[in-house]
Amino acid sequence: MAVRKHPSFRQFLADRGFFIVLALTFALFSVATDNFLSVGNVFGVIHSMTPLAVMSVGMALVVMTGKIDISVGSVAFLSTSIGVIAMRDYGFGPLAACALTLLVGVVCGAVNGVLVARFGVDPLITTLGSMIAFRGLGLQLTNSVMLQLPEATRASGNIAVGPVYLDILFGALVIVGFHYLHTRRPFGRVLTAIGNDVVAANKVGLPVDRVVFQSFVISGLMAAVAGTMTALQLGAVTAFLGQGAEFNALAVIVVGGISLTGGRGNLLVGIPLGAALFEFIRNGLTHLGADPYSYRLVGGVVIFVAMYADAIRTKLLASRRKLIIDG
């Protein structure tokens, strides 16, 4: 009832809600456990969330157009599998294998992009299909067994300068770069325009199909990058690499305030925030000694609350708009 009396309070919650939740979560775990709030633990959490953030930021471009790409987890698996097999069986060096991995990601993204942008297949159906197909192909190539990385490359995922892991810096660079791509490149602006109103974008003569295609290609590429980062951290490619990652990435995007209907959201704030919230909750629960299966329940609740906040935000905007037009 108090909420209804103060619409501005509701708006405050909708706009800043997740900063508050993140801060509260952080405070709660810091107080409740001994080791949560240590430099080592905090950077460790950020380290382990970086691949997810990199995957999410690529997928966020697709979401920005109002579409979706749930094949990213499988792309990460297929591309790294091929990279590792190239090193093991075909004598590729680490750099050449890395390049091949990224190329596979681009090709996977292009397949999705062609189906959606050129043939007009629904993006959810398209990427659901490719999610299954890419993982199937990967499992066939690897015979579902774990592939070790060569000794030389194994440790490179966990190089740190002081407490800061190298891949955190890399991830930060990627997110800043994508932020500029989104806000200051014509490509990013057209992306946002498409998410706002695809019919209007076509009428204005914007290159809608091309930009949608490119967003899927980039999503595939970043999935391969994220897969590579994960593989380097683990020192191996397992059959489970990237499994379920598409939904974690989607959750990061939603929690980060990037609207699934497209056109709305800030990558620079949203992606790190969304990813951090997830990983800190998971890590905090571990420190509390909670049942690992409870992560999923808590994660689900967080996603639901984020979606609800998104709905409230949309409704508030609509009513504000109506006020302006009527008044």
Binding site: R189, T192, D197
Partner: protein, 496 residues
């Protein structure tokens, strides 16, 4: 203030055929710099097609376009834009979450070292917004602005390439009075700056307010091109509508002397209807006459509760003494035919039976709420026989019938419900001559059986075959109530 300089744009003998339809035949349009040309025409006259040809959206089958004396052929909207033609679309193409400046530059951002040049964008946007008289911050997200401001941003976007020809497609349809006058100022200043403006509208007073010449199109061809001083509003209406077909009345005018079945007063809807009052009596066919955009459809929709109303009172006398009802309640007493048959009238993939059953589901259902298929089919057969619907059987999908037969089913399904009131919005749109007559005969039958009918048609000749009196609409108001003896001339003068 028409200048006598050479035309900047000359479209000659433009032909365009679509499969089964001839959209344009020998359409012409000539515009000079520093001139505002009104392009008028009834629905389907070919204005939009002609402008789409000019905008590079569709390519013509024949004819030539000369721009500044050189023949051009546009392959795409991009070509047309590059040649200096700007199109301000009727529906706004704004992107709400983006800033005003970004919306203006969305299709061609100024760049500085690989990134969009926000400083230049802001400066340039401020200049353009100034030009169109908009007081808006360029950094504001568009979603926080009203329709009038958005319209001005749309124009600012069109102006940024310094176009030679600017097309305005019904720019005022969603504007308030004040915003309208601001827009007129913009058009005048464009003319002052030497641009050629093509101004499409349905509002006659606007062309006399801002235009120098008027080109009228009818049935896909250009019928006149006059200086605005040479014509009156009535002339323009006459040119737009053409000679009405001389077809006899289907029944002599029978003004009803019964007391009203429904009375409406003070019906208002912001931006669409103003203080509308009318009463309908049993057994009479009331023709609702007005040009496109006068508020005919809006009135029908408001009466049926399809659009919300701000104010007004509806009194229903159907059950003896009058009682006040809401539009939604009134809808329950009435049979409705909307102007958009494919979109709102029928469920195309379903069978005739299913479509007939729709308003009758109540009494076709058993006690358990299950629809009795056999009774529904029987009802469909009766309807088809009574209206001589040509179909293979009641199971044929309604979408595969001809337009006339579809419309018969749409009207026919109400017969079993036996409403006392019918609201018909363009029930004969897109039908051939004989199908039209069939529908009109059906309307007369309904009136003869004691129903009150409110009949909307943009074809005057058709209205004159059945109407027992005319209500004349303009700008959301009923401005006149004419007797059945009103001549074609009277009716045309009334809306001009």
């Amino acid at each position: 203030m028409a200048t006598s300089s050479e035309p900047i744009l000359c479209m000659t003998d433009i032909d365009k055929h679509f499969p089964g339809v001839i959209a344009l035949t020998k359409a012409r349009l000539t515009v000079r710099p520093g001139e505002v040309m009104a392009l008028m025409g009834a629905n389907g006259a070919g204005k939009s097609t002609l402008m789409n040809v000019l905008g590079g959206v569709i390519s013509p089958n024949g004819g030539t376009i000369e721009l500044s004396g050189a023949t051009v052929a546009f392959q795409s909207p991009r070509d047309s834009k590059a040649a200096g033609i700007a199109f301000v679309h009727q529906e706004l193409t704004m992107f709400g979450t983006m800033t005003v400046a970004e919306n203006i530059f969305i299709d061609d951002f100024p760049m500085a070292s690989q990134l969009t040049d926000t400083r230049r964008m802001r400066a340039e946007a401020t200049r353009l917004l100034d030009l169109v008289g908009a007081r808006i911050e360029p950094d504001m997200p568009v979603e926080q602005l009203g329709t009038g401001d958005r319209q001005l941003i749309e124009i600012a976007r069109a102006l940024r390439r310094n176009p030679k020809v600017i097309i305005f497609d019904e720019p005022t349809s969603s504007l308030t009075d004040r915003e309208r006058h601001r827009l007129f100022e913009v058009v005048r200043s464009l003319r002052q700056a030497g641009a050629a403006v093509i101004y499409i509208t349905h509002f006659l007073d606007e062309i006399f307010a801002v235009c120098d010449r008027v080109t009228v199109m009818r049935d896909g061809t250009t019928v006149s091109d006059n200086a605005i001083a040479e014509v009156t509003a009535a002339d323009v209406v006459r040119l737009m509508l053409g000679p009405t077909e001389e077809a006899g009345r289907l029944r002599p005018p029978t003004p009803s002397s019964a007391s009203a079945l429904v009375e409406v007063s003070g019906l208002s809807r912001s931006g669409a209807l103003r203080d509308v009052a009318l009463s309908l009596r049993p057994g009479e066919i009331v023709g609702l006459w007005g040009l496109l955009g006068s508020g005919r459809t809006e009135l029908i929709r408001a009466l049926m509760g399809l659009d919300p109303i701000d104010d007004g009172r509806i009194t229903w006398f159907g059950d003896g003494q009058g009682r006040s009802v809401t539009p939604t309640e009134l809808c329950g007493f009435a049979g409705l035919v909307t102007e958009d048959r494919r979109g709102e009238g029928i469920v195309a993939p379903q069978s005739i039976t299913d479509n007939v059953a729709l308003p009758n589901l109540g009494h076709l259902s058993s006690a358990l709420g299950v629809i009795d298929g056999r009774r529904a089919e029987k009802l469909a057969c009766e309807t088809m026989n009574r209206l001589s619907v040509k179909a293979s059987g009641p199971q044929q999908a309604i979408g595969t019938l001809s337009g006339g037969n579809q419309q018969k089913v749409v009207l026919g399904r109400w017969l079993a419900v036996q409403p006392r009131l019918f609201l018909l919005d363009e029930p004969t749109r897109g039908l051939d001559v004989s199908a039209k007559t069939d529908i009109l005969k059906l309307v007369v039958e309904l009136a003869q059986s004691g129903c009150a009918v409110l009949f909307v048609s943009s074809e005057l000749g058709e209205l004159m075959r059945v109407a027992d009196r005319y209500l004349v609409m303009s700008r959301g108001q009923i401005i006149d109530d004419l007797p059945p003896t009103a001549s074609e001339d009277d009716l045309m003068r009334a809306v001009a």
